[in-house]
């Protein structure tokens, strides 16, 4: 009898906790999406269904060009970060520990936890200084933002890829080496295909991180190089902007579909 009561209160507690927790995470998003279809600019009351904010969004040249810039930076960042991060992870797992590997790991992991403002201000001051000294980089822009984002994302890529390389079954690589393949060939023919899912995942992670970054971009961007988050931030820090509701809805729907599809694929793989 007592056990039954305990189970009942447990069940109730569980339901309350999960409802409140997920409610907290999702109600704001749901409100935002709902009110992106509201006719009125206020989020106070529902005045009728309308797509006018979406229309305004697609006619907003500033937002569109900022989106294009951000997508380009994100793709370039993700590609470079995956290359560099995979390299770093491989070196760390397969060649470490070597002299100075402590410093290496420290530098690699620092951007994961360190507040982004630290990375932003350090790079900004260095670029200004370098610009004075040797004339490079000549002014902040796409290139400097890219460097900042790559430095941030390498850490995330390295963590994801490192875990995958550690779990790898060594015997395939060993067999290839025994059969006389060079280490470089083994990496490209055996290791790389095996870690490809982790590379995909970390590419997407780096892409989203870059696409979402406000802090580093606001330190490192120059005139004429307003990324999407910067444009959004400069509009919403003053209050509500309904066209941003529409943008957020599109963004969340696209990302949501991608994440759900990706995890479905992953589960199916896990089942077989």
């Amino acid at each position: 009898m007592r056990r039954g009561n305990v189970a009942k209160t447990n069940w109730l507690f569980r339901a309350v906790i999960l409802t409140l927790g997920y409610g907290f995470l999702y109600v704001p998003i749901a409100c935002l999406m709902l009110f992106s279809f509201n006719d009125s600019a206020m989020m106070t009351s529902w005045t009728g269904f309308s797509l006018r904010w979406y229309e305004e969004l697609f006619n907003d040249q500033a937002l569109l060009s900022a989106t294009w810039l951000s997508l380009r930076i994100a793709a370039l960042t993700a590609t470079a970060a995956v290359a560099l991060g995979t390299w770093a992870a491989y070196v760390l797992v397969r060649m470490g520990p070597f002299r100075g590997s402590g410093l290496y790991v420290g530098m690699l992991c620092a951007p994961l936890a360190m507040p982004e403002v630290v990375l932003g201000i350090s790079l900004l001051l260095m670029f200004v200084e370098l610009g004075e000294l040797i004339g490079w980089p000549a002014g902040n822009g796409m290139f400097t933002i890219w460097i900042g984002h790559v430095t941030l994302c390498v850490a995330y890529v390295a963590v994801v890829v490192q875990a995958r390389i550690r779990d790898l079954d060594r015997s395939l690589e060993e067999a290839a080496l025994d059969l006389g393949a060079s280490p470089l060939k083994v990496f490209f023919v055996i290791t790389l295909p095996l870690i490809a899912p982790a590379l995909m995942a970390s590419w997407l992670l780096a892409f989203t991180l870059s696409l979402d970054d406000v802090v580093i971009a606001s330190f490192l961007s120059g005139p004429g190089y307003t990324t999407l988050p910067l444009e959004v931030f400069s509009r919403v820090r003053l209050g509500l902007k309904p066209e941003i509701n529409a943008l957020a809805t599109l963004f969340i729907v696209i990302v949501g579909i991608c994440v759900i599809v990706a995890s479905k694929v992953q589960w199916r793989k896990g089942e077989t």
């Binding site: 447990n10 906790i17 999960l18 927790g21 907290f24 995470l25 999702y26 109600v27 704001p28 998003i29 935002l32 009110f35 989020m43 106070t44 560099l84 390299w87 770093a88 060649m95 070597f98 100075g100 290496y104 420290g106 992991c109 620092a110 936890a113 360190m114 507040p115 982004e116 403002v117 630290v118 990375l119 201000i121 350090s122 790079l123 001051l125 200004v128 200084e129 004075e132 460097i147 790559v150 430095t151 060993e174 696409l211 979402d212 406000v214 959004v232 931030f233 919403v236 509500l240 941003i244 509701n245 957020a248 963004f251 969340i252 990302v255 949501g256 991608c258 994440v259 759900i260 995890s263």
Partner: protein, 318 residues
């Protein structure tokens, strides 16, 4: 088994003994290392250097650390920025407020996140995957846009106030937007997944047989939780708490969007010094103090991670 293991060790020795690494392979270490040294370490050392300089008019807007004068090296180290940082009450209030906000946020994330992670880990595998996905999903969507969603809810003419007014629970709108409360809500909201995920990872690995043993030996559920589950999940709690605490101290976007002019946080202070006052030495000094405050938590995070990793390797061996 033993023989296979020995065989494996032999291969490893043959392939990965460091003395035998050809020089060319050693070079492979260099490129990622060089990138990090150039774009992470060097800039930070520069910030450290500038923090010991004094403000002056010109380009760059600070005094040089070392100068060649009359064929002699003259070092000029100024502590003026740090002196001001340590004596001015506004600066001191800012650190205290930053750390306090980060601590309260971390505590709230623990209180909300622990039961959530616990029930996710205890759910059936299918439900577990779904619930986990629901925690990860916000992580992939723009933080900026999700924080912006709170603006519409918390404003005095926002959704929360109109709902409460309509229900007759309050007579006048609550002033939450542009206060510290709004910043707390935003911070907890943004960082909750960072706490849940590492904690979930350590809860899901917990051996259920240990709990069964505790019950068989007569432990009540609370006792079993306090003496088995909680201690076993501590590494996850520590990792999650640090992953919330460390970035929160330097958070800039959330206080800027939801906080009032009187919400003091170090990230904002540094921003003002750099962009509004163009005081590089001061901004650099604020950054250094921030890193100094975070060094202990960062080292703790590193230590915790290394220990967890070792424990896993140990478990893998047995």
């Amino acid at each position: 088994m033993g023989q296979r293991q020995r065989y494996g060790v032999g291969i490893m020795k043959r392939l990965f003994l460091h003395d035998r690494l050809p020089a060319l392979r050693k070079l492979a270490i260099v490129p990622p290392f060089a990138w990090l040294a150039l774009f992470l370490l060097a800039p930070f050392l520069l910030v450290l250097k500038i923090s010991f300089a004094d403000l002056r008019f010109g380009i760059p807007p600070y005094t040089p650390l070392a100068l060649f004068e009359n064929e002699a090296l003259r070092l000029s180290v100024y502590f003026s920025s740090y002196k001001l940082l340590l004596t001015d009450s506004l600066y001191i209030a800012t650190y205290i407020s930053s750390v306090k906000m980060a601590l309260v946020t971390t505590a709230c994330c623990v209180l909300i996140g622990y039961p959530m992670a616990y029930y996710i880990a205890r759910a059936t595998p299918k439900a577990r995957n779904l619930m986990l996905l629901a925690v990860i999903l916000p992580f992939w969507t723009s933080l900026l846009l999700r924080v912006y969603a709170w603006v519409g809810i918390l404003r005095s003419d926002g959704l929360l106030n109109s709902a409460l007014l309509a229900l007759g629970l309050i007579d006048a709108p609550l002033e939450i937007y542009r206060t510290d409360v709004a910043v707390y809500i935003g911070l907890i909201y943004a960082y909750l997944p960072f706490f849940i995920l590492p904690l979930y990872a350590s809860l899901v690995k917990l051996d259920v047989r240990l709990l069964e043993a505790a019950y068989d030996l007569g432990a009540r559920p609370t006792q079993a939780f306090l003496r088995v589950t909680l201690p076993m999940s501590m590494p996850g709690v520590v990792a999650g708490a640090l992953l919330v605490f460390i970035p929160t101290v330097g958070e800039y976007v959330i206080p800027e969007m939801l906080g009032g002019a009187d919400t003091l946080m170090m990230g904002r202070l540094m921003w003002t010094e750099l962009f509004n006052n163009t005081d590089w030495p001061m901004a650099a000094a604020v950054t250094c103090v921030m890193v100094l405050i975070l060094i202990v938590p960062l080292a703790l995070l590193q230590y915790n991670q290394a220990r967890q990793f070792d424990a896993e390797r140990q478990r893998g061996k047995n």
